[in-house]
């Protein structure tokens, strides 16, 4: 008892001290967490900028350089960078949004803008953009088209459109005329036959004329469906892929892979080293590709050119475009949103856009830059980059809506089964349409 009676006060003291420390720590943590306004003691506004890029790669390096220049030009704004590779960035972003900790401004894949906007995560940029001349920028209309009310939830950062890539050396060796703007799908098939070669006579082609299938469907079945007169998503927002025109397009693809054998089937495509490595390694002589494929083709040291996509039976080319965009977090307070918009405005300017063009990752969205020799007369192939601008001018969007990832995955899974001959084309289109429409119907807009 005496021991306890003398020891207890000491323990109580310990307890009291512990409690005091706990309270102090809690207050400190709360104070840290409450630093949300972004206005520091030095009067500067701190914004968080998120983007996806390969760590240490050219895009990451250029972005960091541009951020430094932006801070220099805007001394009242401090930029905190959050970057990661594409997959990691988007996985983290979804968790950050759930935890209300997303960046103030981030680079969004164009196809995901409506996914975030539809869930109430993005700020409408229409009022900010109203101060700019829309004719000075490419892709604004395509972003607006994704929103049923025509609001602008993202501002263009870089554009991607489709073209026919062809390997000049393989064309010359086969004695085939290079593609022109007048080419049709019949011309494409005829050239592919001549370009397909079995050099070691093992009964399997070593060089294929064309890459018909790619999991990146913007470079495969989607433009083909449109060129044959079909639609993936109708104007009424309903899935419309189950149509006779789509069937024609898929039958044409099957013909190239299994009858004519001028294109690798899906299994062979993967076995040959994944779809995006076929053209850079000269395993295929032609492919449909977006602007960003210029980088990989040049890494493969391929001498190549680009031409407009061939015309389908209806005369349509089925051009598609994806506009990657800067978006502003709806939860960002006014001062941070204003600072974020300043960054967007800065990035859309001539100098930053010229720097971004040098990387060769995207078509610049500043129209003045698209007219400069840096873009039109590059040091690396392809020489004629205007093809991408023309394609962009006539391109449709990728059927954007708040469940884009889910509904396109449903279609893609079904049609890949058909292209792998695991199901028939009519069954695949029926399943794909039904599953994709269910995904769209399940969505309930925020608020």
């Amino acid at each position: 008892m005496p021991i306890r009676s003398t020891a207890m006060p000491a323990r109580r003291t310990v307890l009291r001290r512990s409690a005091a420390i706990s309270v102090a720590l809690t207050m400190a943590l709360t104070a840290t967490a409450c630093g949300e306004s972004g206005a520091g003691g030095d009067g500067r506004t701190t914004i968080t900028l998120g983007y996806y890029a390969e760590a240490g790669g050219p895009a990451d390096g250029t972005m960091r350089k541009l951020v430094k220049e932006f801070e220099k030009a805007n001394p009242t704004i401090r930029v905190k960078i959050e970057s990661a590779d594409y997959d990691k960035f988007h996985t983290r972003l979804r968790t950050q949004l759930a935890g209300r900790k997303a960046p103030d401004v981030w680079l969004s894949d164009g196809v995901l803008v409506q996914e975030f906007a539809g869930r109430g995560s993005l700020r409408d940029l229409s009022a900010y953009a109203a101060k700019l001349n829309p004719d000075d920028y490419l892709g604004v209309d395509l972003i607006k088209k994704g929103d049923p009310k025509g609001r602008l939830f993202g501002f263009p950062q870089g554009a991607q459109s489709t073209a026919l890539f062809y390997n000049k050396k393989l064309f010359a060796e086969a004695g085939v005329e290079e593609p022109t703007a007048d080419w049709t799908y019949d011309d494409l098939l005829a050239a592919a036959r001549k370009l397909t070669k079995d050099t070691n006579s093992d009964g399997k082609p070593d060089v294929y004329g064309f890459r018909s299938y790619s999991p990146s469907f913007v470079e495969s079945w989607w433009p083909m469906v449109k060129a044959f007169g079909g639609e993936v998503l109708g104007e009424d927002g309903k899935v419309a892929i189950d149509s006779p025109q789509s069937r024609q397009a898929f039958d044409w693809m099957l013909r190239t892979m299994y009858e004519e054998k001028v294109a690798p089937d899906p299994v062979t495509t993967e076995a040959l080293g994944k779809s995006q490595s076929l053209f850079p390694s000269s395993v295929v002589a032609m492919q449909f590709g977006i602007y960003a494929r210029i980088q990989t083709a040049n890494q493969g040291k391929v001498d190549f050119g680009v031409a407009p996509l061939p015309k389908g039976p209806t005369g349509e080319r089925g051009d598609l475009a994806n506009i990657n965009a800067w978006v502003i977090n709806r939860a960002a307070p006014g001062a941070r949103a204003d600072a974020a918009w300043k960054w967007i405005e800065y990035f859309s300017g001539e100098k930053p856009q010229a720097a971004w063009t040098d990387i060769g990752e995207a078509i610049p969205i500043n129209t003045k830059v698209t007219r400069t020799p840096a873009f039109l007369s590059p040091k690396t192939p392809p020489a004629d980059r205007k093809v991408f601008l023309d394609s962009l001018a006539s391109a449709d969007d990728l059927g954007l809506n708040p469940v884009w990832s889910e509904y396109t995955a449903a279609i893609s899974e079904a049609v890949t089964a058909a292209l792998s001959k695991e199901s028939s084309v009519p069954d695949a289109l029926k399943t794909g349409q039904s599953d994709a429409q269910s995904a769209i119907d399940r969505f309930r807009p925020a608020g």
Binding site: L15, G120, S121, V267, E270, A271, G273
Partner: protein, 323 residues
């Protein structure tokens, strides 16, 4: 008090006894109770970090998950109560059933193969030779390697063009196979790779069990004329049956929760041929914003794991011998 007591003693017979109240008998155990109460408080204080962890990081998420399973929750807006909608949708969701079938197929190959291989390795490595620790370590290396590293190594083996597996097939004039790109071969190939990664850990468990079997039993069997196979069948197998049961339960649970491997190596493809249930759940929650639906999948998966474990527990009475 003391003088009064002395006086009273002296004059007890002559005078009225002084009204001295006897001291209240102290309650036996009262001090003990106080001490226990204080100790309980201290115990609670020391247990607080663990309890906080349990409540905040286990109990609360489990309760939240139970609630989310009955809601439409996109992670951005507030959850909306939808009752049993998620569970009724699950019943009609072909993709979910495909993922469950894929998981079952994966488990059917993986669990027995890993158990047999781990036991065989343990028996082989249960020798008193100088190089044994090195060999045991070598088999354990894949266990501690990440799935990303394993994916690179597996690609060197199963790459359709450059992999050594097809090179071996070539020696026997067999056409190369598209191991991970073929809808038919992808699950068996993934199971093989998973066995390669996991067998080392189970081998260690079996090694511990083997070393606990008394050597006298083997000696007695040898004296009775039992051969190597007889000793293995009648002494080793029953002797490690408790560990075999543990390995079976752990392997089954591991398989039903498999995610990293398919996420890194196939992404669920080709098509949905290797889409396992946890990957499907991840897609629903983190790619398609259906966190409520993903929560429902988690509960169904939990029920499946619980059911299988209960069945295994019931069946073990028939074949597990605890020494």
């Amino acid at each position: 008090m003391t003088p009064v007591t002395t006086a009273s003693r002296r004059g007890r017979a002559a005078v009225d006894p002084p009204k001295v109240h006897p001291p209240k008998p102290s309650r036996p155990g009262g001090a003990k109770r106080t001490a226990r109460r204080v100790e309980r408080r201290w115990a609670l204080l020391f247990a607080t970090p663990y309890l906080a962890h349990l409540v905040l990081l286990t109990a609360w998420p489990v309760l939240a998950l139970a609630y989310l399973g009955f809601t439409d929750y996109d992670t951005v807006s507030s959850p909306r109560w939808t009752g049993l909608d998620n569970y009724t949708r699950l019943l009609r969701d072909e993709a979910f059933w495909t993922s469950l079938l894929n998981t079952g197929y994966f488990a059917l190959i993986f669990v027995p193969l890993q158990t047999v291989l781990a036991l065989a390795l343990a028996v082989g490595l249960n020798q008193k030779l100088r190089a044994m620790p090195l060999l045991r370590g070598a088999y354990f290396v894949p266990v501690v390697s990440s799935w990303v590293v394993m994916a690179y190594v597996a690609d060197a083996v199963f790459n359709p063009r450059l992999g050594s597996a097809n090179a071996v097939l070539g020696w026997f004039a067999i056409d190369p196979l598209n191991w991970l790109d073929s809808p038919v071969l992808v699950i068996p190939t993934l199971a093989l790779i998973a066995v390669w990664k996991g067998a080392g850990y189970m081998m260690v468990l079996f090694l511990a069990a083997l070393q606990a079997i008394p050597q006298e039993r083997y000696e007695a069997a040898r004296v009775d004329g039992a051969g190597a196979w007889g000793r293995f069948r009648h002494i080793t197998v029953p002797g490690v049956s408790g560990t075999t049961f543990l390995v079976l339960v752990l392997s089954t649970i591991t398989t039903l929760q498999a995610f990293e491997q398919v996420f890194v190596m196939t992404g669920g493809g080709p098509g949905d041929a290797s889409e396992l249930t946890v990957l499907y759940m991840y897609r629903q929650g983190f790619e398609y914003f259906h966190m409520g639906y993903a929560a429902a999948i988690a509960w169904v998966l939990f029920a499946v794991i619980l059911l299988l474990t209960l069945v295994q527990l019931r069946l073990q009475k028939r074949w597990v011998h605890y020494a």
